[in-house]
């Protein structure tokens, strides 16, 4: 079970998450993809920590998880207030900043 497989897996997860952010229209789904990306990065960090034999990667993974949690709180709060005013959860409808 070489660590390379873990890296490949996390790269695949990250790509799927990135494509999902760019392609999906529902805001909640976009957020889930963002979470997917963050977790892929976590997996990468832990794998590298295992490869290098130091604990730095795992410590950074903790930080990432905390930041992800805080970001989800704020992001969902914003989506909720947008939904209450616009009755729509599509990211394409928040386009008032166009030229």
């Amino acid at each position: 079970m070489t660590p390379t497989y873990y890296l490949v897996l996390s790269a695949a997860l990250f790509t799927i998450g990135a494509v999902g952010v760019l392609v999906r229209r529902n805001a909640i789904v976009v957020f889930m993809c963002v979470e997917l990306m963050l977790n892929a990065v976590n997996l990468t960090l832990v794998t590298f920590s295992r490869i290098n034999g130091s604990l730095d990667g795992q410590v950074i993974a903790f930080f990432v998880m905390v930041v992800a949690a805080a970001e989800v709180v704020v992001g969902l709060a914003i989506i909720m207030s947008i939904f209450r005013t616009r009755r729509s959860a599509s990211v394409d409808d928040v386009n008032l900043l166009k030229y």
Partner: protein
């Protein structure tokens, strides 16, 4: 010593001009009286100066007035030179000027701009006096420009007439072309001699002079160009006939007696330079001969009386140029002819002004005729001027012009014969066109328009004309009497010709000249006196007549060669400025505007496209880092 107050001669008319022009309408009641009184005062003072200089042993007062341009090692003094040549001109300007000013009081009586007219007239007198009294070329140049300005203002006096405004512009531009020559001559003088004062410059010429012939020729030709512009000589002569748009006193004073003679003064004053350079002298003589004949030929075809007189002026000044160009000894004859010409040309112009006044400001000779019974005094005055100019025995022209023809023949060689014959032919043609003008105006059946009642002008206009007519009758003889004026001018222009061997004996030459003149008179009498004069100019005429009517195509030439290319150049430059320069600037602005409009479209407002660009950017950074890491 009143001699030290010579600067008043310039300051007084300038002050009067300033008062008249600045005082405005409240000076309308007395403006013309002040304007006419100033030259009279100047004439009296000039007479005093003349007699005081005559009594002196050294007939010259050279006074520096003030330091004009003190700039370190380069300094120019402003000063006045009172010597025989300048005194003669001064008397002419102030004397004839006073008479013409008095005439103008009457002539301009019905014109609301009379005060402005006298302001400009006095300005002219001030500038002209400065021109002849300055003791350096730079001071002369100031006066030179001043008379050009006054001429422009006076020709364009009736500024609401487009033809007058155009004529004023034409005169000023032609003068300016000549002024380039004078400026270059002054620049050459500064370069080679470090000074332009007459004393300093002439020290380099003549006996013991060290100036090369090349420098003399260069200065001489440039001075000639300047003189051509001011005096209306070929090739800068086209402005003089058009200058007749100004009021008649202007034509009489400026374009007959004084301003146009400034060129002759310049060349006579620069006699040491022209004596050194034969090339420049030949140039002067050629210009004089060509212009002499040009003026005569064009004068024959004009229907406008003042234009005939204008071409006559062009031609007579050609005679003067011919004389100054003939070299040492003949300068005095040119000046004598200049003085006589001042008298009789002023008479002719003022009489024509009286005729114009009487004929309701019309000047077409084809609508005149038979005026000698209606305006007898004017007829006598014009007749006196006419006999003087054609050189009738014992009148002015007989004494003065014959001397020039004689000197031309005496030059010797082929050039002498050519010049002499040209001068003779000119005398004949002069007789022809003057007789034509005389006959068409005063003789024959009246061809007047309806409602015109010609009569002699009031005394204020008639008296100056009669005084000038008397001067044209006796002036020539008095000037030549006993070689008086010649002897007087010797300190300025060198000694007169010694009575030596003549190519043709003077008596024979006088007879030949009289025969030629008689032929001219007879020809005009038969052509215009015996046959009825058509009221409108005949159309089917010979080539020579057409050429004469169209100024020998000089105006057409100027238009085709100078004006049209100039207009083409300006329109090309305007086009280039509008399309090229403006196009570049506006195009740049449009490019920026268009570019920004294109770029603006990336701000779609879509979150997903922003996310995509962020993603693309981070991928680019990543690739760069990897490339650097693993290179």
């Amino acid at each position: 010593m009143l001699q030290n107050a010579a600067w008043l001669l310039i300051a007084l008319p300038a002050l009067s001009a300033a008062v008249l022009l600045l005082a405005g309408k409240r000076a309308d009641k007395w403006g013309h009286l002040l304007g006419a009184a100033v030259p009279v005062v100047l004439f009296v003072y000039s007479l005093f100066l003349f007699f005081s200089i005559k009594g002196q042993h050294s007939r010259e007062i050279n006074r520096d007035l003030f330091s004009w341009i003190p700039a370190g090692s380069f300094h120019v003094e402003a000063g006045l030179l009172l010597d025989p040549l300048s005194m003669v001109f001064l008397l002419l300007i102030t004397g004839v000027g006073s008479l013409i000013h008095i005439y103008a009081i009457g002539y301009m009586a019905h014109d609301p701009g009379r005060r402005r007219f006298f302001g400009y007239f006095n300005l002219f007198v001030s500038a002209m006096v400065l021109l002849v009294l300055a003791n350096s070329y730079l001071g002369l140049y100031v006066g030179w420009e001043g008379v050009g300005l006054a001429s422009y203002l006076l020709i364009g006096f009736y500024y609401d007439r487009p033809s007058a405004a155009t004529a004023a512009k034409k005169a000023f531009i032609a003068n300016r072309v000549g002024d380039v020559g004078l400026s270059i001559a002054i620049m050459v003088m500064f370069t080679y001699f470090g000074s332009t004062s007459f004393a300093d410059v002439f020290a380099h010429f003549g006996v013991g002079g060290n100036a090369s012939k090349g420098v003399a020729a260069a200065i001489g030709f440039m001075l000639l160009l300047g003189a051509c512009g001011k005096s209306g000589q070929f090739p800068l002569q086209t402005w003089l006939p058009d200058a007749m748009e100004g009021p008649t006193p202007v034509s009489a004073l400026i374009h007959a007696a004084t301003m146009v003679t400034a060129g002759v003064y310049l060349i006579a004053r620069s006699s040491p330079i022209f004596d050194t350079s034969t090339a420049a002298r030949t140039g002067v003589v050629v210009v004089g001969a060509i212009t002499l004949l040009y003026g005569c030929i064009c004068g024959c075809g004009q229907d406008d009386l003042k234009r005939v007189l204008a071409y006559s002026t062009v031609s007579q000044i050609g005679y003067m140029f011919l004389a100054v160009g003939l070299g040492p000894g003949v300068y005095a004859f040119a000046i004598i002819h200049l003085l006589a010409h001042g008298f009789f040309k002023a008479t002719l112009f003022l009489s024509s002004g009286s005729v114009m006044h009487a004929m309701d400001d019309k000047i077409d000779m084809r609508r005149f005729g038979g005026l000698r019974k209606a305006m007898p005094l004017t007829f006598y005055a014009f007749g006196a001027g006419y006999l003087a100019i054609i050189g009738f025995p014992l009148f002015s022209g007989f004494w003065t012009k014959d001397k020039i023809i004689e000197s031309a023949f005496d030059k010797g060689g082929t050039s002498g014969w050519l010049l002499g014959l040209a001068a003779l032919l000119g005398a004949g043609l002069t007789a022809f066109y003057m007789t034509r003008a005389m006959v068409m105006t005063f003789f024959g059946e009246p061809r007047w328009e309806d409602g015109v009642h010609p009569h002699d002008p009031p005394k204020i206009m008639m008296l100056p004309v009669l005084v000038l007519a008397a001067a044209s009758v006796v002036g020539g003889y008095l000037l030549v009497l006993g070689g008086g004026v010649q002897h007087w001018l010797t300190p300025s222009v060198g000694p007169g010709i010694k009575e030596g061997v003549h190519t043709i004996s003077p008596v024979v030459l006088s007879v030949i000249t009289l025969v030629v003149v008689a032929l001219g008179v007879a020809g005009a009498w038969v052509a215009f006196g015996q046959r009825p004069v058509p009221a409108s100019a005949p159309v089917g005429v010979s080539v020579v007549t057409t050429a004469s009517r169209r100024n020998l195509f000089a105006d057409s030439f100027n238009e085709a060669v100078l004006m049209r290319p100039g207009q083409w150049l300006t329109s090309a430059l305007v086009f280039f400025d509008n399309r090229g320069v403006d196009g570049a600037v506006n195009g740049l602005a449009a490019a920026f505007g268009g570019g920004s409009a294109r770029l603006r479209r990336t701000q779609t407002g879509f979150v997903r496209s922003y996310a995509l660009s962020m993603f693309a950017g981070s991928v680019a950074v990543l690739i760069t880092l990897l490339a650097v890491r693993f290179s």
